[in-house]
C-alpha cells in the first residue's frame, strides 16, 4: 500500500515520519461508503504529533464507523524532492493512499507562517490550489483552528472553514455529507451549520482607500453572520493517544483540563476566542489520565490549559493525579502560569527532584504597560514570586516579554531591564548559604502581532525597523552579566501581522510567495523576507496597510462577519480602556459583560474556586 519503496524511504533522513505503525493508530477496511478524512498538519511530523488537537480530532472522527480519519504531515525537504522527482502524490500515513482519494482534507491553522505549507501539501497531493479550480472529483478542503478566526487570507484556497470547538458541529457536517452530492450543493447545505464559513458564498467590495466597503453573502444559503461553534460543556476526550514510533517534539500524554481563560489580557487571542472557561471535572480528568497513560506507556503527563491553576478544583486534581502517577513512575508537567504560591506549591509537589528553570511571563516591563494590556500583575507580585521560587531552589528564571505593544515608549522597553535587574537583586536576598549557584535570568522578547477578536485588533503594529531599533537599544543598555537577552525576528512578525489581519486580497500574495519557493516560513532558517516583500509587490499589496495602520472604530474588519460570542462593543471598550491604562475584572472577580452572557446562555458560570488565588483587582474592578 505504501507509495514509496523501502530503498526510496531509506534515503530520507527520518523515514519514520512517513511509515506509520504508531501505537494506537486506527485502521479501517476501506469500503465505498466510508467517508475518508485526512487530518492535514502543515508542519513536520514531530511537531504535528505533539499537537493535542490532532489527537482529539483523530479519535473523535474515528469513533464513527462511517468515517476514517488519517494523518498527513508536511513532508520535510528531502521528501518533497523525492515526491517531486518520482512524480508520486503525497499520501496519508495510515493507508498510504494519495490525498486525491480523500473526501475531505482538513488543515489545522495554528500559525500564519504555515500557510505556504498548506499550498505545498495540496500541490504535492496533485490537487488544484484554488477552490475555484476544483471539481466534484477533488477532495473538499476545510480548515480550522485558532487562525480560522480570520479565515479571509486563505479564502481562495479553502472550500469551508470551521470556526470554534471541533466537537460541536463536525458530526452535523459529516451527517450531511453524501459522496453523490456535488460540491457546491454540499457546501450550500452546510453553510448555516454553526461554525461553518464557505468563503465562495460571500463577496467583499473595497473603497478607494482600500478599506472594505461591504461584505455580504451572494447566496441565500449563506448566513450574513457566521456563528462560532461552541460546546457549552466539554465532553469527549480520547481514551488513548497515538504514540509515535519516532520521537515527537513533546513526547508525552496531554490532559486538557480546561478550555478558555478567565483573564482578559488584551493582547491574547486565545484568551478571547475560547471564552468562556470550561472545566472538565476532577473525576473525569483522573479517569482520562489513567486511560491515556495505560494506553500509551508515556512517562510524562502534561496538564493543558491557558491558566492551569485557575481550575476550580486544581488542588484536588493534582492530588488525584499524584496518586495515579506514583505507581506508574510518571512525571507531571505543569504549563507555566502566574508565579504565585499555588503554582509554586504545585511545582513542589510534582517536581521533587529535578529543578529546572522556571518561566514567568510578565509580558511588559513597566506597570503602565502591564495595565494597558490588562495583565493584572504587579512588580511586587513578580518579585515575590521569583523570591519564593529562588527559596524553593530554582536559580534559573526565564522571563517572557512582548515588544511593540500599543502605547509603548522606549522607556517602557528599557524598563524590562530594570525589572530583570530587580529579579537578580531578589536572588541576593537569599542568604549566602542558600545561593548555590549564580542566578541566571534569561529574557525573551517577542514582537507583538495584533490579532483578530482581541481589543488590540484595531491597533497599529510596530514596523520591523521600529522593533529592531528597540531591540538594539535594549541590548546596548544591558550591563548585568546575569541577564541574557534574546528577541524574535521582526521581519517574520511583519509577515505574520499581514496574514493575521489580512483580507481575501492576500490570497494572490500567498500564492506568489509559495510559487517563488516559500515553504516552512515558520522555520527561521527557511524564511525569506525579501521573497515575501516581492510577493506583496506582485499582488499589489502594501504590507503597511495591514500592519502599521491603526484601524478606525467604524471600519469593517475582515473577520466582522464571524459571531465569536464576544461582542465588538466589548472589545472596543477594552481598546479604549487600554489607552488610559484602565483594568478590567477577570471572570472570577466579576462579569465584565463581554457578550457571551454565560448565565443566560446556560454556559458554566465562571464563579471560580472558593479560595480564588487570582490577585484581587488593585484598582477595584472598573467596569
Amino acid at each position: 500500500m505504501r507509495a514509496l519503496s523501502d530503498s526510496e524511504l531509506l534515503t530520507l533522513t527520518k523515514p519514520g515520519r512517513y511509515t506509520g505503525g504508531d501505537v494506537n493508530a486506527v485502521s479501517k477496511e476501506i469500503t465505498p461508503g466510508l467517508t475518508r478524512f485526512a487530518f492535514c498538519f502543515p508542519d513536520v511530523y514531530e511537531i504535528g504529533m505533539s499537537h493535542l488537537g490532532l489527537q482529539m480530532l483523530y479519535f473523535f472522527l474515528n469513533r464513527r464507523d462511517d468515517v476514517f480519519c488519517e494523518r498527513v504531515f508536511m513532508p520535510w525537504f528531502d521528501m518533497v524532492d523525492k515526491l517531486q522527482d518520482s512524480d508520486k502524490p503525497l499520501f496519508a500515513i495510515e493507508s498510504g493512499n494519495p490525498l486525491g482519494e480523500f473526501d475531505f482534507l482538513g488543515f489545522t491553522l495554528q500559525y500564519e507562517m504555515s500557510y505556504t505549507n498548506i499550498l505545498a501539501m495540496l500541490e504535492l497531493g496533485k490537487i488544484p490550489l484554488l477552490a475555484s479550480q476544483r471539481g466534484d472529483s477533488h477532495p473538499i478542503i476545510c480548515a480550522g483552528g485558532p487562525c480560522a478566526t480570520n479565515p479571509e487570507p486563505l479564502a481562495d484556497f479553502v472550500d469551508f472553514f470551521y470556526i470554534g470547538d471541533g466537537e460541536a458541529s463536525l458530526d452535523e457536517i459529516l451527517n450531511k455529507y453524501d459522496k453523490a452530492m456535488g460540491r457546491r450543493t454540499f457546501l450550500e447545505s452546510i453553510a448555516r451549520v454553526d461554525g461553518v464559513y464557505v468563503p465562495s458564498l460571500y463577496e467583499a467590495t473595497y473603497g478607494d482607500d482600500g478599506r472594505i466597503s461591504s461584505f455580504a453573502p451572494t447566496s441565500p444559503a449563506a448566513p450574513a453572520m457566521v456563528k462560532r461553534a461552541m460546546l457549552p460543556k466539554l465532553g469527549f476526550f480520547p481514551d488513548k493517544f497515538l504514540t509515535p514510533l519516532t520521537e515527537a517534539v513533546q513526547d508525552r500524554a496531554v490532559l486538557e483540563i480546561a478550555r478558555g481563560c478567565v483573564h482578559g489580557c488584551r493582547f491574547c487571542q486565545a484568551g478571547f476566542i475560547y471564552r468562556p472557561m470550561r472545566e472538565r471535572t476532577v473525576p473525569d480528568l483522573l479517569a482520562h489520565a489513567a486511560n491515556i497513560l495505560d494506553a500509551t506507556g508515556h512517562d510524562e503527563i502534561s496538564l493543558l490549559s491557558l491558566s492551569a491553576c485557575d481550575h476550580g478544583h486544581f488542588d484536588e486534581l493534582l492530588d488525584g493525579l499524584l496518586d495515579i502517577v506514583k505507581s506508574r513512575r510518571v512525571n507531571i508537567s505543569l504549563p507555566s502560569t502566574r508565579l504565585d504560591a499555588k503554582y509554586l506549591s504545585a511545582l513542589a509537589k510534582t517536581q521533587n527532584l529535578r529543578k529546572s528553570s522556571l518561566t514567568v511571563a510578565p509580558e511588559a516591563g513597566s506597570q503602565r504597560m502591564r495595565d494597558i494590556i490588562n495583565k493584572n500583575l504587579t512588580e511586587q507580585q513578580i518579585l515575590e514570586g521569583c523570591y519564593n521560587a529562588f527559596l524553593a531552589g530554582y536559580d534559573k528564571i526565564k522571563l517572557y516579554f512582548m515588544s511593540g505593544l500599543p502605547g509603548e515608549t522606549i522607556e517602557d522597553s528599557l524598563s524590562v531591564l530594570e525589572l530583570c535587574d530587580k529579579v537578580v537583586e531578589t536572588y541576593y536576598r537569599l542568604s549566602y548559604e542558600e545561593r548555590k549557584r549564580p542566578v541566571s535570568v534569561s529574557v525573551s522578547t517577542s514582537c507583538f502581532v495584533p490579532k483578530a477578536f482581541t481589543p488590540f485588533q484595531w491597533a497599529a503594529q510596530a514596523a520591523p525597523e521600529e522593533f529592531i531599533a528597540t531591540q538594539q537599544e535594549v541590548k546596548g543598555k544591558l550591563r548585568n552579566k546575569r541577564i541574557t537577552y534574546r528577541y524574535h525576528d521582526a521581519k517574520t512578525a511583519q509577515i505574520e501581522g499581514v496574514l493575521a489581519r489580512g483580507d481575501r486580497r492576500l490570497g494572490k500574495a500567498i500564492l506568489a510567495a509559495y510559487q517563488a519557493g516559500a515553504i516552512y516560513d515558520g522555520w527561521s532558517e527557511h524564511f525569506d523576507h525579501a521573497r515575501w516583500l516581492a510577493a506583496f509587490e506582485q499582488a499589489a499589496i502594501d504590507p503597511g496597510f495591514y500592519t502599521t495602520r491603526q484601524r478606525e472604530a467604524d471600519e469593517i474588519l475582515p473577520w466582522d462577519f464571524i459571531d465569536m460570542g464576544i461582542s465588538k462593543a466589548f472589545l472596543l471598550s477594552e481598546w479604549q480602556k487600554s489607552a488610559t491604562s484602565q483594568l478590567t475584572t477577570n471572570c472570577y472577580q466579576g462579569c465584565a459583560n463581554c457578550g457571551l452572557a454565560c448565565n443566560k446562555a446556560g454556559l458554566s458560570p465562571c464563579t471560580g474556586p472558593k479560595n480564588c488565588s487570582s490577585p484581587v483587582d488593585r484598582k477595584g474592578g472598573a467596569k
Binding site: G16, G21, V23, T243, L245, T246, H298, R329
Partner: protein
Amino acid sequence: MNQNIRLRFAKGGALRFIGHLDFQRVFMQTVTRAGLPAAYSQGFNPHILLSFALPLPLGMASINDYADIALAAPMAQEEIIQRLNAAAPAGLAIHEASPYEGKGAAAITTAAKYEFTPTTTLPPDACEKIMAMEALVVPKKTKSGVKDTDIRPDIFQLTHGETITMLLAAGSARFINPLTVAGQLAGQPPCPSTICRVQLYKSSGKELVAL
C-alpha cells in the same frame, strides 16, 4: 533481588524505519503498557533496566533478536510473553523470555548471521572468492575518520544458496557492518532492507552458539 530475563524477539515492518534510540523508547513504552514489574535504575532519571544485544541498522529486519530486562518481582515466562505481545506495536513479536545469569547480551555477543537477498544476480563464486582471500582491505568509517581496514578476519562464513548467508563478527569487541560485506559481494552497497539479521551468537569455547 531482581529477576534477569532475556527476551528473544523479532523486529520488522514499520519498526525497520526507526533508529535504535527510538526503538529503545518504543520497547520501554511496550513494557510499561504491558504492566511488567520492571526494575528501574537509580538516580535522578530512573528508567527501566532494559538493554539490547546489538543495535540493528536502519532498514533491516531481525528474526532472532535479544534484549535483557530486569524485573523487580517474579512473573511467569508465559505471562511475560503474552503481556508484551498484547502491548507490542505491529512489527514487534516476543518469542521467548528466559531467566539468565552472568553477563548481559551485549557483552557476550560475538557474531551475527544475516541473510542477504541481492536484487541483481551475483557471480556464482562471489562468496568463495572472498572466503579465499588472505585480506580484504576496505575504507571503514571510524571515530577518527575513514581508515583502510582489513575486514577479512571479521568474515566468518559466506554461503550462496537461495539467499546469501553471512556470518560476521558482531559485538562490542569486533563488528563489521553487514552492508559493507554485502557491498563487496554485490559490487555496490545494497538497500538495507535486502538484508535480514537471522541470529546472534556468543562464543562457547571454539563454537558459536545462539544467544
